[in-house]
Symmetry: C2
Subunit: 359 residues, 2 copies
């Protein structure tokens, strides 16, 4: 069987080269007679993997010295709670920008734990869009500002992050490592691994060290960023295999030209697909053009019946997981870093064919 | 390279057959052209994996209908906090039995969150042992009783669980699925996956459903057992690959005769190793004989220098990770379900040889 063109929004496609390397050494990691997943998280083989994974992230994101790279668990959704638990002091409030389903989730979880000001909300707008920076009125005394860099379901992306006085915290689950980033703009960045980093099971956190000191002593240690910094994410057993995969994926990214190289590839792929949408009156993009995501390309067909047929016929041709999120319907093509340009070309060819037959 | 005899305490050895199956289908799961780790956690392929993993656990442990099987993250150490957060009501207290490092960790985490009565503490005793049931004086009004079924570092195991009025909660990280169990004796059982279940990255929880209702509404949803029950552990993205591996491991266990079959194999392996210790005056077991663990066999040599030399020479012969935990020293041979009897025989032969040369 040839590789499918896997448009899954996450867990998502991984680089074929990485999967082949993992497969080749799955029973015998570097002549040890053991799988990497059978090894102690404190042994020398895994320690080297762990350190390279962190070093690769630091290299790719050019992370300043006063930040730490952490591997946590529970996904971005757990971070929705850990962020206020660590960073929102008694009596303080935080500003949230809500541009879609993931922003809404972050707001909902944070509201259970403290005072939250939703300073902009475009989560229900159609066509989908994100608030413009000019629309944002920050509170004077916010403990932090929370933003979602890419709304996976809406198919929108922040193009320029707002300047904030309070530390800016960004959920980058669906576009982490897809473009260069000035980390010094942020207090904390987090991302579930299963879109652009690795298989599901770890959450990447990049945090400015001083912010971790805000956590109250009463917080359980494994909920404290501080404890993860102090023990290099090894306070307890880290999910070693997902970190190993992240190490291989980031090594692959560096070999591909880093984030500048990846951005070029991602923009080229997205341009081909958005052009196909714009050139047609049959397909209609759901996001405003200036905030279209290069990671999740969302569009509609004239009817839901045609959308269902589109997904079904595409699947038969080896193009899988094109169905939009159950909450919004439509079509969603997730074309993360590891998604090949040839798969976009195949989708565009199929779109033309489908329109010719059904348009 | 032949497979090493991997005595790691965790992450630990996995069945070779399971690794081979995972390797064979790593790039193409059942003809889909995708890896299982690249698939949506809501798609039909992963759903079947998830359901089989749960069904296998239910079959192996003969789980009553009023219990749920959950896949959580954060390891057993995170459960140390989640248990009191969910089950210890305002003003209530809980009883803890502390028989070693893991019991101590559970006590320490719980004390941050509520009133804890340590009703027995053998954690500092040498030889290592667990409190006898006759030593336990339960509180009248405990919200629950917490016990550690197998102390990985001490090399001890509970042979008969105490009868308790309050729900009994057991950390079974290092002996889950190693012997038959009457689940109805327990309110909650939990286990990090990386010893007897799967690679690191998921935590198995078996909970009596009514207990999950104790959680306060103010608790973040992803910290609530109730939310995991309600959404079949799919409220957010579950670590799909570790669950897939657990499914393969439990399928392997069923084929090996289930927990009765596994217990026989485990007892036979442990008997060979403990006999080698008892037959020698050079090696000295660290646990009292009546509570020796069949999972983690701990022993000392006459000097620390000899212990270091023992570990070094064993490693050269392909027997790895025999060094005792950094907190206690000595030798520890972890011989979980997946550890082959031939590896125990090889270790015993090496022990005799080493004693002859150095005794």
């Amino acid at each position: 069987m040839a590789r499918a063109y896997n448009f899954s929004a996450g867990p998502a496609i991984l680089p074929e080269e990485v999967l082949k390397e993992a497969q080749a050494e799955l029973l015998d990691y570097k002549g040890t007679g053991m799988s990497i997943m059978e090894m102690s998280h404190r042994g020398k083989e895994y320690t080297a993997v762990h350190e390279e994974a962190i070093a690769n992230i630091k290299t790719l994101l050019k992370i300043p010295d006063n930040y730490s790279v952490l591997f946590m668990t529970g996904g971005a959704t757990t971070q929705f709670s850990l962020i206020p638990m660590n960073l929102l002091g008694e009596g303080q409030s935080a500003d949230y920008i809500n541009a879609g389903s993931w922003g809404s989730g972050a707001v909902k979880a944070a509201k259970k734990l403290g005072k939250i000001n939703v300073i902009a909300d475009t989560s229900k707008e159609i066509p989908t869009r994100m608030p413009k920076n000019s629309e944002l009125k920050f509170s004077d005394d916010a403990a932090y500002v929370h933003i979602t860099s890419n709304e996976t379901i809406a198919g929108t992306q922040v193009k320029e992050f707002p300047k904030t006085k309070a530390p800016l915290i960004a959920d980058m689950s669906s576009d982490i490592l897809s473009r260069p980033l000035d980390v010094s703009q942020f207090g904390l960045i987090y991302a579930g691994a299963q879109k652009n980093l690795a298989p599901a099971g770890i959450t990447l956190v990049v945090i400015r060290n001083d912010l971790a000191e805000r956590a109250p002593e009463t917080l359980p240690e494994l909920f404290q960023y501080r404890a993860f910094i102090a023990e290099n994410s090894l306070k307890n057993t880290v999910p070693t295999f997902p970190v190993y995969m992240l190490m291989l994926v980031t090594r692959w990214l560096i070999a591909k030209g880093g984030l500048e190289g990846m951005q070029k590839l991602n923009e080229a792929k997205a341009a081909v697909l958005y052009k196909a949408i714009d050139d047609s009156s049959f397909y209609k993009g759901t996001a405003v053009p200036e905030q279209r995501s290069p990671m999740n390309v969302t569009f509609r067909l004239p009817t839901e019946e045609l959308e269902a047929q589109f997904v079904k016929e595409a699947t038969k041709q080896g193009m899988t997981s094109l169905k939009g999120h159950r909450s919004v319907g439509g079509i969603r093509a997730s074309i993360y870093n590891a998604f090949p340009a040839a798969g976009v070309d195949a989708l565009v060819a199929f779109m033309k064919e489908f329109e010719a037959e059904n348009g």
